[in-house]
Amino acid sequence: MIDIISSILSYFPVIGLAALGGLIGQKAGVYNIAVEGIMMAGAAGGLYGYFISGSLWMGLLVGFLWGAFFGALLSLLTVNWKLNQIVIGFTLWFLAEGLGKFLYPILLPGSFKVPERFGYLFGFDYVFYITVALFVATVIIFRWTKQGLAIHVSGESPEVADIAGINVFRVRWICNVIGAGLMGMAGAYLADHVLQGFNYTMIAGYGWVAFAIVLFGRFSPIGVLLGSLFFSSLIGIQTRLQVAGALFLPSEFMVVIPHIGVVLVLAIIGILGKKSGIPSALGVPYKRE
């Protein structure tokens, strides 16, 4: 039983980390639509980290740092230089995805395979627990700490935050860097642990699914957690059925079940008229008078 659950949830850390990263950055008021690309860069970085050190943890760290680099670039361009966040997001998506695919064949032998996986505890691997712990930490930080309030206010009304003595620029910088870092880590985990190798279509829209989950979870950590569980099980079930050869649809359509799910779920939420919970200042660069 636990085997089945854990194999269905094998994509949870991938989707969960990326969605959590998106939540943190966007809660502070900056769109990050480069998720897909940052995950690709993180995947290449994760494999490189493992390749040079022989440690999966090093892989995760390199993935995180790669992601954080793009988070810093995003902050520089949108927080300091106040360029359009969506346009910059596209740009970074191209750049990060291109760099991942470009550097991988240069840095690593073509058919590199990771021979090991993270250790397991009660049927789930370590990163699964880390992801859950990060969600719990985010809930605590958002609910009960001063820092969480600072992030919330920076996203809702940066003017008020500024008057209250919060450095909006610094908050947004930190959230972007950590958020994008988690996305890179998600990519590294996908490459190192789940697929144990690299291919050019490995991210397969999971970054966009993660981006959608933040909307689906209405910008609350618990909502995002539930969304990640739901969509990662869709992906898990889909891969499991494909491996088992139980195709009730042509394989091309099996692969896009999660994507169809995203469209349907977002449309239903929209039609039901649920409050979107979008931070009021999301997408608006803060300018100090």
């Binding site: 740009t91 750049l95 291109g98 470009f102 359509f253 469209v263």
Partner: protein, 351 residues
């Protein structure tokens, strides 16, 4: 009537600065990547030039690539101008290609009728495919970026299903399996101007002016621009925002559908894996870079086509195939270079 570019002089200098910066970036990136791959600089630059603007056949190949880029970027320019973040161009191109192939191969119509019907249907069906996302956005505030992106995956899944399943075609006596359909009958193809460039290119050029007049001179274009600029103002003027926005989304997807048609009837003459060639994704930055001005779109598309074709030629020298993506990523960062200069200047003034 006189065509007018709605850019100010300062913007024009910025545009020039852009082009200079882009050429600089291209040169630097190629230099770095050829150093990494151990290819001599002279060889990589001469290859790049030979396959792009340095020879007449190179120019024809670049113009061939420009065709779908122009159509898709025009479509996206309409969408972005009206405030619809349509990043589903890739999927809409696929839908256009599917419709065209279906009409031309399986309906058994006379040549001319089939081409006209393919033109209309690929516009309408791809338009509706994008229109759904636009309608969801304007009616229920469903995030357009996510939905259009997801629709890409769904359309491409349908595309790959068709070429490897029901529409799969195997040439008798051929060795090896290719996922592709039967060829389109000769009479339905766009005639060549000079191979490999087909007259689909002329259709793309014509659409530049059509979109220009639509956006700049027609009531609909005006309404689209108002909706994109300021919804409150649009409502105050009595514009039916929902209808205009959805219509804009349909037009935008329709043009992308025509890009798919131009690929099938003007370049590949069948549906096969990879013909959408990421044009739909490259078109996003082109539209943004050209500031959604229809008259600038051909230049942006030409530039990007040079980069795609040129980096493709570099892969024959053993450079990674993702070079074009890196180059385009850096290129679109460089596009903001003028803004950066403006920002630094302003800062200096303040200090």
């Amino acid at each position: 009537m006189k065509l007018k570019l709605e850019v100010q002089k300062s913007q024009l200098t910025m545009g020039l600065l852009n082009v200079v910066a882009i050429i600089g970036a291209v040169v630097v990136v190629i230099a770095i990547s050829s150093t990494i791959s151990g290819v001599s600089l002279e060889k990589s630059f001469s290859t790049f030039l030979k396959y792009t603007v340095g020879s007449s056949s190179g120019i024809l190949y670049v113009l061939k690539r420009t065709t779908p880029l122009i159509l898709a970027s025009l479509g996206l320019a309409i969408a972005f101008k009206s405030g619809f973040w349509n990043i589903g161009a890739e999927g809409q191109i696929a839908i256009g290609a599917i419709t065209t192939t279906g009409v031309c191969l399986f309906l058994g119509l006379p040549d001319l009728v089939a081409v006209v019907l393919a033109f209309i249907l690929s516009f309408v069906i791809a338009g509706l495919y994008s229109g759904v996302s636009g309608f969801l956005k304007v009616k229920w505030d469903v995030n357009d970026i996510v939905v259009t992106m997801m629709m890409n995956f769904i359309a491409l899944a349908l595309f790959h299903y068709l070429i490897s399943g029901p529409w799969f075609w195997q040439q008798s006596g051929a060795v090896g399996l290719y996922s592709r359909t039967a060829p389109i009958p000769e009479g339905m193809r766009f005639p060549f101007i000079s191979p490999p460039l087909s007259s689909a290119f002329i259709m793309a050029l014509a659409f530049i002016f059509i979109v220009y007049f639509l956006m700049k001179k027609s009531v609909l274009g005006y309404q689209l621009r108002v909706v994109g600029d300021n919804i409150t103002a649009a409502v105050c003027q009595g514009i039916n925002v929902k209808r205009i926005f959805t219509l804009g989304a349909i037009l935008s997807g329709g043009l992308c559908g025509l890009a798919g048609m131009s690929l099938v009837l003007g370049e590949f003459f069948r549906m096969q894996a990879g013909i959408t060639g990421n044009y739909g994704f490259f078109a996003i930055p082109i539209a943004i870079f050209c500031r959604n001005e229809p008259l600038l779109v051909p230049f942006g598309s030409f530039l990007v086509a040079i980069i795609i074709e040129g980096t493709l030629s570099l892969t024959t020298l053993g450079m990674p195939s993702a070079l074009s993506e890196v180059l385009l990523g850096i290129l679109f960062l460089v596009v903001f270079f003028p803004e950066l200069v403006g920002w630094v200047k302003k800062r200096r003034k303040k200090a």
